[in-house]
């Protein structure tokens, strides 16, 4: 099992602030996905990044895949209370199996 480490584990910020969440591994992944999970629900896919160095934007969220395809980051601009949740990165190394990181729990206070 390949290890994906996320940092920080917890983040509490005020509405309007910017933040970055990191996902790091010593393994190379063919692709990497970011999910968001709300209490009592399953994770919901936000984005898939495939190419090393790739940057994808989803409204106020910017996702980047490292050049070596071992790490990724999620940047949120002007965070809103609705962004509150657990953010999970997951790597696909081979086959169809996802390996999840431990998650970053984000709280955005109004």
């Amino acid at each position: 099992t390949q290890l994906l480490e996320q940092s920080p584990q917890f983040l509490s910020i005020q509405e309007g602030e910017n933040l970055t969440v990191y996902c790091n591994s010593s393994s190379v992944f063919s692709s990497l996905q970011w999910y968001r999970q709300e209490p009592g629900e399953g994770p919901v896919l936000l984005v898939t990044v495939v190419t090393g160095g790739e940057v994808k934007k989803l409204k106020r969220l910017t996702f980047q895949f490292g050049d070596a395809r071992k790490d990724s980051s999620l940047h949120i601009t002007a965070a809103q209370p609705g962004d509150t949740g657990l953010y999970l990165c997951a790597g696909i190394e081979w086959g169809n199996m996802l390996t999840f990181g431990g998650g970053t729990r984000l709280m955005v206070k109004p």
């Binding site: 099992t1 994906l4 996320q6 692709s31 996905q33 009592g40 629900e41 399953g42 994770p43 919901v44 896919l45 898939t48 495939v50 999970l88 997951a90 696909i92 086959g95 169809n96 199996m97 996802l98 390996t99 999840f100 990181g101 431990g102 998650g103 729990r105």
Partner: protein
């Protein structure tokens, strides 16, 4: 399209009892997964099915956990006997053949073992 259905949503049992969870994936999704998510952690894969065959069950504690996917559609996950450390949310997910399209997760079953 309908999502991944799971039942029950919640279950409380005493240790050493048995419990079963049910999952109905999205129609047409050949691959089905069961994950265990302990509070405060990311999901951990227990077993992966491709149609009705097992692809990976290397992290399934086979002395107490079992899973089946009859006819390549619905799946059940069973724990017998349950231990306190089995308290977690059990998530079922399905995907098309290529995981790059992402998994669709159900809402999970929250199991509490007392």
């Amino acid at each position: 399209e309908a999502g991944v259905a799971q039942s029950p949503r919640y279950k409380i049992i005493e240790k050493r009892q048995s419990v079963a969870f049910w999952c109905n994936p999205i129609s047409g999704h050949a691959t089905l997964y069961w994950y265990q998510q302990i509070l405060g952690q990311g999901p951990k894969l227990l077993i992966q099915f491709q149609n009705n065959g097992v692809v990976d069950d290397s992290q399934l504690p086979k002395d107490r956990f079992s899973a089946e996917r009859l006819k390549g559609v619905d799946s059940t996950l069973k724990i017998q006997p349950a231990k306190l450390e089995d308290s977690a949310v059990y998530l079922c997910a399905s995907s098309l053949v290529a995981a790059n399209y992402g998994y669709t997760f159900g809402s999970g079953t929250r199991l509490t073992v007392v």
